[in-house]
Subunit: 335 residues, 2 copies
């Protein structure tokens, strides 16, 4: 059922089998599996996740390569609700470990916000990341190209940059290292730091050895039309010619709501999980971009399958087996 | 490119980056990723795999729940070929480890078969399983229900059996144990052995304790119409009423072609892999139902992503980095 401020109250006494934080591809996969295991679940989706920004999903079996992320998210949300999941638009602010249950406080509504608390036996953290973007005065200029010809994922879109003149926009010396992977797809790489980091002599030398020019002035404007880049103008007046690019500036993690939970093992901002996506906390699972590993839709979707399956196993094994009562006397045992 | 006996010769001198044995969901995912990494690959598909039998795919994010397996396979095959993969209809008979390459002998064509040998640096074993079905004199009677109301996967279809009268068709005492998981979805379970195994007193007692009748006579005929079961008639004349069922008879693995490879670690018929789907052989990967773990489309698709990514990493790291030659003198290094 789709929840909103109008019908939230009907669920405040519910103890869900699982609450899924994040209604992206991984969270929706978890919800679809949970619902089809006959378990109750609530998906809380804040909106504006990484997959919503995808203009096309080129490497997911079964979908047309020009399918936008938005369409798949809408489709999967409908699918999850139809199988019986609850779905709420809201922002998870805090999770509290109450022993037998987890309490999940959600901010609902941007104006006149309410802060309902939902409870569940298990929590699936599927709230993912969003990509850091270069901050320009006119952010619309960035949005006009990001996800089209200015990419954020080399695995997803490296192929579409093949042998083109490309910018690599990096905000740390470590991120500049992406140039030496991106050169698999194209060697015509200009590195831009947008004035965000110092570059060591060693890295400068390595870039020069590869013929990749380095520009350290901030970006003024992305040039092009109809989402197709033609170049990037820097504040010092330089024009860097490029028809494509990769933003390699790291991610912003939506995981603050878990920072108060004791006993969770982190690796940086990623949660450490086992092969069924269980974290070091027995009732908290993590998947997709929030766990360690490769950030890909196909992997998040499988993670959702695994987390939901393990939660089903746990709940099933803790339940009384269902007997065929009316047969109990009839069945003839010749022991 | 679609290969056939007419154009195979053009590829006999090729050393592919990878050959993918099996064009099911996992193999196609691997091929799409390999192609988009700019690697050369050949998918060899024998046909009639498990996903071809699926009448609907209810739990894969982004696809309508009534999408038949056949449609997704056709769509994914087209997708892989469009990104640059080669695809051949044939049966892999043997793989030989030649040191730097693997030689893959394929039987092509049912009549006047030819036996071309293809070579690759890496092999992805994605040839999966098919489900064992009860053998009746009239197999069409089985095919009329299998995949519709007579299921082969509890995780996929347990939900659709909810509280219905169900048969569990098991061929070993171990498989009978599935009754005590299936009862999560329905307690109205009749167990049929089709005369294929002895049942111990202990198991008989456990079934009786749950009220699940056991029928040991062979199946004569599945009753129903329009793919909807109404019951199963046994050779002793008994009619077992049921509107759904689960066939729990294990799987036939297509993995014979790997049995001659030294150093491959097996767990029964499954290949043991690491978290990037690499087997104990550095150039052989295994995924989907062929590796250990849960048999689900979503998982096979992610496995394909992982295997292809690791192969790309290996090949990329072994390659000379591409430099922007014309810049090599121009780039000004202020070191």
């Amino acid at each position: 059922m789709k929840l909103s401020s109008k019908n939230i109250e009907t669920r405040l006494d519910t103890v869900y089998d699982a609450i899924v934080v994040g209604g992206g591809m991984g969270g929706l996969s978890a919800a679809i599996y949970l619902a089809r295991y006959g378990l109750t679940c609530l998906v809380v989706e804040k909106g504006k996740g990484r997959s919503l920004w995808m203009q096309d999903l080129r490497n997911y079996v079964g979908l047309d390569p020009d399918t936008p992320g938005r369409d798949i998210l809408n489709h999967g949300t409908k699918q999850a609700i139809e199988w019986g999941a609850d779905h709420l638009r809201g922002y998870v602010e805090e999770v509290t470990d109450e022993g037998d249950t987890l309490a999940v406080r959600v901010k609902v509504g941007k104006k006149d916000s309410t802060y309902p608390v939902f409870r569940s036996k298990y929590l699936i953290a599927a709230s993912g990341v969003i990509d850091k973007l270069p901050q320009l005065e006119n952010m619309q200029n960035v949005y006009d190209y990001a996800g089209y010809t200015l990419h954020v994922c080399m695995i997803c879109d490296g192929f579409d940059m093949w042998d083109q003149k490309a910018v690599l926009i990096a905000n740390t010396e470590g991120q500049i290292g992406a140039a030496f992977v991106l050169n698999w797809f194209t060697p015509y790489i200009s590195v831009l730091t947008h004035g965000l980091c110092e570059v060591s002599d060693e890295t400068k030398q390595k870039l020069a050895d590869h013929g990749y020019p380095l520009y350290e002035a901030p970006i003024a404007k992305i040039h092009g039309e109809n989402h197709k880049m033609s170049g990037i103008e820097l504040t010092d007046g330089t024009m860097v010619e490029a028809t494509t690019g990769l933003i390699s500036m790291g991610s912003i993690y939506h995981n603050q709501y878990l920072k108060g939970i004791e006993g969770l093992e982190w690796n940086g901002e990623n949660l450490v999980t086992n092969d069924m996506m269980k974290t070091s906390h027995d009732r908290i699972f993590a998947l997709g971009d929030l766990k360690q590993g490769i950030n890909q839709v196909s992997i998040a979707v499988a993670d959702g399958t695994l987390a939901a399956t393990q939660i089903w196993r746990n709940i099933r094994r803790a339940s009384e087996p269902r007997k065929w009562e009316e047969n109990l006397e009839k069945v003839n045992v010749a022991v």
